[in-house]
Amino acid sequence: MNYYLALIVLLPVLSFITLLIFGKRMGEKSSYVSIAAVLAGFALSIKALLYVMDGGHAKIAFTWLSIGNFDVTFGLLLDELTAVMLVVVTLVSALVQIFSIGYMHGDKRIGWFFASLSMFTASMLLLVLSPNFIQMYIAWEGVGLFSYLLIGFWFEKKSASDAAKKAFLVTRVGDLGFVIGLILLYVTAGTLDMDKVFAMQFAPVVAGTISILIFFGAIGKSAQFPLHVWLPDAMEGPTPVSALIHAATMVAAGVFLVARAYPLFEQSPAAMQFVAVIGTITAFMAATIALTITDIKRVLAYSTVSQLGYMMMGLGVGAYAAGMFHLFTHAFFKALLFLSAGSVIHAVHSQEIFDMGGLGRKMKITAITFTIGGLALAGFPFLSGFWSKDEILLGAYQSGHMAIFWIGLLTALLTAFYIFRVVFIVFLGKPRGHHSEHVQESPAVMSVPLIIFGALALSAGLIGSPLTGNAFQSFLTGGHGAEHHPDYMVMGLSGAVALLGIFAAWLRYGTRLLPANIISKDNLIYKLLVNKYYVDEFYYKYLVKPTHAIAQFAYTFDQRVIDGIVNGVAWITVRFGIGLKRIQTGYVQGYALYMLVGLIILIIWSCRVLGLQ
């Protein structure tokens, strides 16, 4: 079994190396190498999942580095959580890469695109499989690196390279918390191996600080409240990248981290509370912003931020399995939404929803898949989104976090509203602007993955729903605590909220019944939402600008003061030299006089010394 695990990770790495060397020459064909690697990986991860389902665990370990009594062992660890993530990552990565054959067709650096996609998948798999916090951190940054390279894939575009820079730096800030957390963990626990750490019992306050610091890493990577600014800009990257990285896998890494370090988090209720609150704030805030966005990909970006908030909320309120289940389903329908958005953009060559209109008639498959994705996201009853979101709300309800429960419900309503706002604008009504006139359906290679994702979006929810006795949750939590009786009241409520949202959206955008200017442009709340709560401006004004100012001050200080002192010393010595120079008057008898004075002083001094005086 260990052999397969190693293979899952190594295959994409091999494809990366081959593409790195031969990528340019292979051009379009390079996609076959990386897709083959990922599909093989998918098959192996299914095998791993089956192996784990009948109770097997696996662990490979080798000492990566040892200093005195501190040794760091790397390796691969397989348990339920990993198995689930393996399947999700490999499947989504495979489908997205198939999709991008069509999407990226004709791009001259397609070799490099597939190389970095496969290496991204490899580091994501490594992250999921790592048994040691340092190895996880290495994979964590590896994932961040390739997201940086892929966002900035079209680096000729200034906005793309800016977005890449922003993404890397913001996640890096988050990672600082993670590093400090690791240092604290090392100092208190003496080791960074996960199984040893989880076996230890820490004082709540220590466990609390460590887990909150580690959670900072998750905030950065999963674009939670304070550090969410980079994800919407990351849409500058190609759509398949957004689908794979910024919907399904990388952003989920933060949630995975919290899930993986759950034993640590559980030891301090304060940390759990913190996670839940941050999750809720992010969910609600992102949902509100999504209402006003006109760029189709950015709407989906904010929706991802909001759904991630949901997952964090789930984990925070103690519904560990529900959070992971939502991650599982979200990966599929969000990837579906992104890819269908991609095929729309591919056809219309614009991302503005108001340039699109009435595409439903011409792009049948994309329209259907997008709607399915929308329904799943909105939590339309009996679809995957509905079950996973319901589980989280149930978790919040049962654990008594009533405030979080009601905000969650409100967010679900907003989610339904903003996604169907996009659906109605883009697919119904008459075509706006010249873009959407001559539009035809995307080629098969792009629509097949859409269909597969559509099927998954429909069915994935069933696994964890009460109908099948919450099989997913019991698998994850090893049986105990999953068989809670289905609470029809919460289920009914969340279903009703979803329908209400869709209906409101239909009223507003579908039928023009409600007048366009219900919310006038200059209304305060509207302005607040359009400017995304001014978070970007705040950061720029109170973080970026002062850093530059301090940097400039430090440089001038360095130039003026310290260099000044150094050059000053040189200047003084020169001055001193010039001063002394004056004595050489050239007046010969003057020298004789100096000698004479010297003589006299000498005589006087010697008299005193010899005591003659």
């Binding site: 008898q589 006089l593 004479l596 004075v597 006299i600 005589i603 008299c607 003659l612």
Partner: protein
């Protein structure tokens, strides 16, 4: 009684020495200065006789008055115009030098007056110093005697080479 006579002679000689040396230092005319230098040297020779150092006195007359003064005269004639040579530098320079020299002389005199020299009573009869000096030259001071001859030779050649007119590259 004879003490007072030698004192009178001493004072006379001392006065003449001081006057002649002042004239050399202050004299406007270089030639006159040279003449006064010769007079000064003779007075010093007189002192030597007074101090019953006959050989030194004679040597003084021969070497200094005969040799050195004549050579200096040659120097004057070869190098510069005789009369109204600008002698002394600016007032401020002069005052400063006078002050310093006076300080030095005062200092020396005060030291002499303080130190009690160990007198040998003058009663000892002065033996003829010439034969003594001759013996000393050949016994204790033979090395310096040889060295001084080498030195004089070197000075002689050196002076000739330095002041040579033609033949220098």
């Amino acid at each position: 009684m004879d003490v007072s006579i030698s004192l009178v002679i001493f004072l006379a000689l001392a006065a003449m020495a001081i006057i002649s040396s002042l004239m050399v230092v202050v004299g406007r005319n270089l030639f006159n200065a040279a003449m006064f230098l010769g007079a000064y040297l003779l007075v010093i020779a007189g002192f030597y006789f007074l101090l019953s150092a006959e050989l030194v006195g004679i040597m003084q007359v021969f070497v200094y008055v005969g040799g050195v003064v004549v050579v200096l005269l040659f120097g004057i004639m070869l190098t510069s115009q005789m009369i109204n040579v600008r002698l002394v530098s600016a007032l401020q320079q002069r005052v400063l030098t006078l002050v310093v020299v006076a300080a030095l002389v005062g200092l020396l005199v005060s030291i002499f007056s303080k130190t009690s020299f160990y007198y040998i009573s003058s009663a000892e009869a002065p033996r003829d110093s010439i034969s003594l000096i001759g013996k000393l030259f050949m016994t204790d001071y033979v090395l310096p005697f040889e060295v001084i001859s080498v030195l004089l030779l070197a000075a002689l050649i050196g002076a000739v080479i330095i002041a040579r007119e033609e033949g220098r590259q």
